[in-house]
């Protein structure tokens, strides 16, 4: 129940902000690159940023999303390059198949995220999520043994919502403000297995501008075993 408590704390300090991450490693993860060059693909991240309106609907923002995507890809590339990794930015999915793998990761990653929160009863403790060997096609295409998949949903509080939160807080009622939910998977493209996974939840990160975005990406990549 540690996570539930953490979430509770986050809710209670929603106005001041809170960030937490949760990292998972596959059981038998070992890192071996077949090629001399350690090449990793940064797959086109699935990102959506929006404004949380007074009524509680999230209004998607194309400009923020485009900016955030740019920051995320650039920052991930910088961090990996510092680890002597040859980074391939696959910003534009090259095929329907690549698109499907990205969508598959969205679904698998959401389940894995949920599992880190509530421990799906029949799943057991082993972290053994996979995208399946369909990822081999990416390996052949890009000549890389590993790929990084990222999923981000991020919302920011509008003035109307903030006013409502403050008003409600005075009455002792907590209303949730904007929040960030993200996860990242390091996938072995030979098997499709997710060998490392990190989930981030936050109420105060900001992906719209360069410097705070770098903090978010640093948090997300912290502990990546490369």
């Amino acid at each position: 129940m540690k996570i539930a408590r953490l979430a509770g704390i986050c809710l209670s300090v929603a106005l001041s902000g809170c960030t937490f991450t949760h990292e998972e490693k596959a059981v038998n993860a070992s890192f071996d690159f077949t090629a001399k060059v350690k090449r990793v693909i940064v797959v086109d991240p699935d990102v959506s940023l929006g404004e949380l309106t007074a009524g509680g609907l999230v209004e998607a923002r194309a400009d923020w999303t485009a900016a955030a995507k740019g920051f995320i890809v650039a920052d991930v590339a910088t961090i990996l390059a510092a680890k002597n990794i040859d980074v391939v930015k696959a910003d534009k999915p090259s095929s329907d198949h690549e698109n499907q793998i990205i969508k598959l990761h969205d679904v698998v990653g959401q389940e894995a995220s949920l599992h880190t929160l509530i421990r799906l009863p029949n799943k057991g403790d082993a972290f053994d999520w996979t995208l399946g060997p369909g990822t081999n096609e990416l390996r052949d295409q890009y000549g890389a043994d590993y790929a990084v998949f990222i999923y981000v949903r991020d919302s920011y509080t509008t003035a109307g919502r903030a006013a409502m939160m403050i008003g409600a807080a005075m009455l002792g009622i907590g209303i949730q403000g904007g929040s960030q939910a993200a996860f990242i998977s390091l996938v072995d493209l030979r098997t499709g297995n997710i060998v490392w996974f990190n989930r981030l939840g936050s109420t105060n990160g900001d992906l719209r501008t360069d410097a705070p975005a770098r903090d978010v990406v640093n948090n997300l990549l912290e502990g990546i075993p490369l």
């Binding site: 609907l57 998607a60 329907d96």
Partner: protein, 389 residues
């Protein structure tokens, strides 16, 4: 999976049910329009673009070039300068439906292509969707939702159904994507009116619009289990109201001396390679009474189609209520006598004769089936039937 369950799933994925005030009328979009990057409209387009990428990978997407070219050609004829702004995706789903996303992604179900009797009817459906795009109805709906969120029900779209049955998952995706915002009835009325003008400006017979809604109402009425058979109809003004409005407009227009056209041949030609498959899908999926309504209507318009007689026979055989087997037998016979029915009509004839205990007729029909289709993949089954006669 019953159709009712499916209908529930479909209605559950419609994200909004609006009870709010009338929408603020947006100026129509100019051709080639892209919303400013920092606008709420750009956000809607971004989400639609994302959904569109997903739809491009769907196994249900019909990729046949000729059929796509035909529908796209018709869209361009109707949309004029907006031709480049609208992208057509034909999905292999046996229901009647069409939808327009904020970014100009037009989705058309094969069930619609199958039900339209001629190009004029299809033109009215497409023109209606083009009108939604031109009038930016999605944006109005979204702004209404923001302003009246106290009065709306927001339902989370879950993909839980995806593993249960392919179609449910597909519907959920489309609900989240294309039907992202369900249009209000006022908007539907406006789209009807604007669409009517667009299609009649291209000389499509105004009475076909009314005929389409008449036919859809009849199909609905034949199937008591599902009133809201499609997202298209459930969010739209009642078929009856639309039918009357269309009829009134058609009567006024038709009195003007003009050479109105229905153009059944092009649509017929474009859908020819697929109709057998589509009918088979409708048969799997839809209520037999509804299907029989569609077939009988089509037969009234084209009495000598062996293909239609064959599917009529199949539908009766599957329904199998009092007298249906005899009706089925007659229809198989008509399909064969008309000379243009599929070879499978002989097999059907054999099966119904077998059921009726007419061994001689059954054997003769099965023999003819195997003679005409020696490579049939159900040959062993037919030979087994023969051995039991």
């Amino acid at each position: 999976m019953s159709r009712r369950t499916l209908a529930l799933a479909v209605s559950a994925v419609l994200v909004f049910t609006t009870v709010g005030p009338a929408f603020a009328d947006q100026p129509p979009v100019p051709p080639g329009y892209r919303p400013p990057a920092d606008s709420d409209e750009a956000g809607l387009w971004m989400q639609s673009d994302e959904a569109e990428r997903r739809i491009q990978t769907l196994p249900q997407l019909v990729r046949d070039e000729a059929l796509n070219a035909y529908v796209k050609g018709l869209v361009c004829k109707l949309a004029g300068d907006y031709c480049r702004d609208i992208r057509v995706y034909i999905l292999d789903v046996p229901m009647f439906n069409a939808s327009m996303a904020p970014n100009g992604m037009l989705i058309l179900y094969t069930g619609t292509l199958l039900r339209c009797d001629n190009e004029a009817q299809l033109a009215f459906v497409l023109a209606h969707e083009i009108a939604h795009f031109k009038k930016r109805h999605a944006l109005d709906q979204w702004r209404n939702a923001i302003n009246t969120s106290g009065a709306i029900a927001v339902l989370a779209v879950v993909s839980a159904g995806a593993g249960v049955f392919g179609l449910i998952g597909l519907m959920a995706e489309l609900g989240a994507a294309a039907g992202f915002v369900s249009y209000s009835r006022d908007q539907e009325r406006e789209a009807d009116a604007v669409g009517f003008d667009i299609a009649t400006a291209q000389d499509y017979d105004p009475h076909e619009a009314a005929a389409l809604w008449t036919d859809l109402s009849a199909e609905d009425a034949a199937d008591p289990a599902v009133r809201n058979r499609s997202t298209f109809l459930s969010s739209h003004p009642q078929s009856k109201e639309r039918m009357q409005t269309m009829l009134a407009k058609a009567d006024v227009l038709a009195s003007t001396a003009k050479d109105w056209k229905t153009d059944p041949d092009d649509l017929n030609h474009a859908t020819e390679p697929y109709r057998a498959q589509w009918y088979a899908e409708v048969m799997e999926f839809e209520n037999s009474n509804a299907l029989l309504t569609v077939l009988n209507r089509k037969i009234a318009r084209a009495p000598h189609s062996g293909e239609l007689q064959y599917f009529l026979a199949e539908a009766y055989r599957r329904r199998n209520e009092g007298g249906d087997i005899e009706k089925s037998r007659q229809a198989y016979q008509t399909a064969i006598d008309d000379g243009n029915g599929p070879v499978a009509a002989y097999k059907g004839l054999g099966i119904v004769a077998m059921k009726a205990g007419d061994k001689t007729a059954a054997r003769s029909a099965f023999d003819q089936y195997l003679a005409l289709s020696p490579q049939a993949n159900d040959r062993a089954m037919i030979e087994y039937y023969c051995s039991r006669l």
